[in-house]
Symmetry: C4
Subunit: 271 residues, 4 copies
């Protein structure tokens, strides 16, 4: 009976109506959190907005608790549920003192839309789908970053502490250079004291952009060849059915031939 009760709860929580109601609440909640960025609106309607925000949060918590009750531990088997759980939990944390930055994270609730709108979830899952096949090229890129960061820190660190003072600073500067943003200014400045720095910067740009280019090509080629494999399978099936159709006619013709011969045989027997 508990089982039956569970099923009723699940079918209620996952009904179209409740789903759409939750989507509506997420949208309203996201807009309210957006309003809270405006001091004017906060001073006029701050109290009301906070009230609505807490009410909506209460609904989210209740929805989550019902789901956890209904699905038990299997709730936490699903990545999207864990995603939901973390987002709702952040909202429940105290937000005073050094944790006040967490208030800004409340807007992450808007990301729950991704889970609740199937089209968005599908796109995000597709985006993540390409990542594993790229993991080793990311390892390679990280290795390139690390090697260049160490060389940069050791070679330019003492003269240009803001850009290359620590490994972290060098990594940030290399990321900046990879985006090609302001790289020439940095390179020209460093070249004043280290004439060979141009080799460092240009070789990094070439290696990093060639590797990034290949990440991009890998995604295009993977996606295309998956589609192609599917298409090829379809094409082979189409050709197979054509061949089968054509052959069935031939087989029929041969069958008729056989009947002719059998008839002939009988005639001969009769004579």
């Amino acid at each position: 009976m508990a089982n039956k009760f569970n099923k009723t709860i699940i079918s209620f929580v996952e009904s179209n109506f409740v789903q759409q109601f939750i989507i509506g609440l997420i949208v309203v909640n996201s807009i309210i959190i957006g309003f809270e960025t405006s001091p004017d609106i906060v001073s006029s309607y701050g109290g009301m907005l906070q009230l609505i925000d807490r009410l909506i949060l209460a609904v989210f918590v209740i929805e989550m608790l019902i789901k956890i009750y209904a699905y038990r531990l299997s709730y936490f088997m699903n990545g999207w549920n864990i995603f939901d759980f973390i987002i709702v939990s952040i909202a429940l944390l105290p937000t005073y003192g050094s944790l006040s930055i967490l208030r800004a994270f409340r807007i992450f609730r808007a990301l729950r839309l991704i889970k609740n709108v199937p089209k968005l979830r599908f796109i995000v899952e597709a985006l993540f789908h390409s990542l594993p096949s790229l993991s080793w090229i990311f390892v390679l890129l990280s290795l390139v970053f690390y090697v260049f960061a160490v060389v940069g820190t050791k070679a330019f660190g003492t003269d240009f502490p803001i850009w290359f003072g620590t490994l972290g600073a060098s990594m940030f500067t290399l990321f900046q250079i990879m985006t090609l943003e302001g790289w020439a200014e940095i390179s020209r400045t460093v070249q004043h004291t280290h004439p060979f720095a141009a080799i460092y910067f240009i070789s990094f740009i070439l290696i990093a952009s060639y590797t990034t280019l290949n990440i991009f090509i890998a995604i295009v080629v993977n996606t295309m060849s998956e589609i192609q494999h599917h298409d090829n399978a379809e094409q082979i099936q189409a050709i197979e059915s054509i061949i089968t159709d054509e052959r069935s006619e031939l087989i029929n013709d041969i069958k008729i031939l056989k009947e002719y011969i059998v008839r002939l045989e009988k005639k001969i027997e009769r004579t």
Copy 2:
């Protein structure tokens, strides 16, 4: 009879000659509006240019009125006609006072070329053709923008009002960062007071560029697979015709066999 008159009008308005005359007028009009950007030319020939401009506009209005008269309401069923209607209407609005900016919009008449030159219309329609399949990825990108804008406004708004003072300012700054223009300078400045800002900026760049990359990939893959489907259909047809040809020879051979057997049968019957 009204109907017949309508047909005559339509066939006249849509005749090659009138079409090319209109294209010519659009080009001349666009050049004149271009001339008007030069104070020297305006001071010497301003009156004449304005006269020609008004004459051409008159022709456009007459052409439009004739079409509306001929097609009646069905004129407004066509997106390109509405496009035309708005562009011509803008030109008729008064342009003094706060509406003087509308004078700059007169050059939009040049865009009528897109409607009137088939090749251009074809390309623009192809450009729009890809958009619907991208709509959900744009929703996702907007969501990412919104979440980052809210976080940015709340976290950096008070310290950097020019970049993150309001939601709108944050959105503009995020768009700037997505184009990678000057992002490093903004990030380095914000990092002075908010050491963890680098995470904000780098994660936004990675998410935004990965999503944009996937918009691009989606267009390439869509276009390619459409072409491929068409090609595959052609290929299957080619293979089908080959198989049919080959088979017809076999069927012929079998038919001859049949005739042989029938002949044989007759011979046996005769004996």
Copy 3:
């Protein structure tokens, strides 16, 4: 006999040895012109370099004259020959006074390598090959540029003459914005006096980059589908040969059947 003499000349001028000798001269000439950019080298070896330069130029002129003599007017039918003719002619122009800039153009002789090295010529021809199919998208992009340039000049020209003072300045600024270089700074500055300028800049960036993206996609898709058409033709041929092979066995089997029946017929006739 003149004809025979011509053929001897042509086969000499186009012989591997002469071709490679010319390539060698172009390389040497390009290096010498490169050396002339260094004041030190010019002050020490200037005279010698100029002498070699003139000697090589003389060889180029003689080669060209021989070819023109041999091919007559048909020499000018070939685009690459006209290219050669212009480059060699520039070198013969006087280079004093206001024409001294033409001295810098002497390095264009290095471009003769493209004509003389088949691999390079092939690549350049392939690059040009894609252009015609892109011509209308370039017309569209020019139209977008023109419209935005006129709007920009009229709206921002008086306040920001350096960026939008004339149609030409606006076009340059728009090209700069299309490359995303420094666009945010321009936009933020213009926004101070024209709050709605952000719409102008962002819409231009979106339209220009989407159109450029489609230029790129058009090239990829064109190249891919050309290769694919070639591949498909090959594939159909392969399948055709398989089908023909298979069928020939069947036809052979049927032929044997026929022979059986004929033998049978004869036996019956004999009885």
Copy 4:
């Protein structure tokens, strides 16, 4: 016997355990060299880190010497071994005086991971795999760079020595312009004294980006068409097996027909 001893050595050095031990050492070594960029860590643990570094280096040297002993000259036939040899040798060079920059190159040891982790080696080999087919397009790009660098140096060198003072400076500036970084500022500055400079910069950007675009397209198209050729071969095989299957049935039918006729023949003979 020496041979047998060699084989034992090789199978030991290339055993999974030793390989993974070396990978572990490379990672530890890379982290240690990373630590050495921090003055705090160096002042506290500098001696210990240097000791571990030397111990690990000793292991690398011993591993290399064993391999050289075992493989003799054939060791140097493999590109990856030469790569290893150079990296380990750099570490053994003295690092005082003007060679102290070589200390920074010790981190190149981290690149040995590429050789030792098969997945990384595979990716890097794939990255290099595309390069030869691009070599002529690089020659073309170099030619374009050289021509523009010579023109730039001659035309703008005296007025803007920092950007165009020497051929090398011009090449660097052109590379910067190709990355679109700060090109507009350079162009606007040069235009003050050379009004036609805009043509120089814009034509370089168009030519360089169109050529680069084609490098990119060449890689995509090459990769795609390699995959496609493989796919097509598979598809043809699949179709061949379908046709063969279908035909075998037909052949069987015809065989039965033959048996019928033979039986008929025997019957006739008997009568």
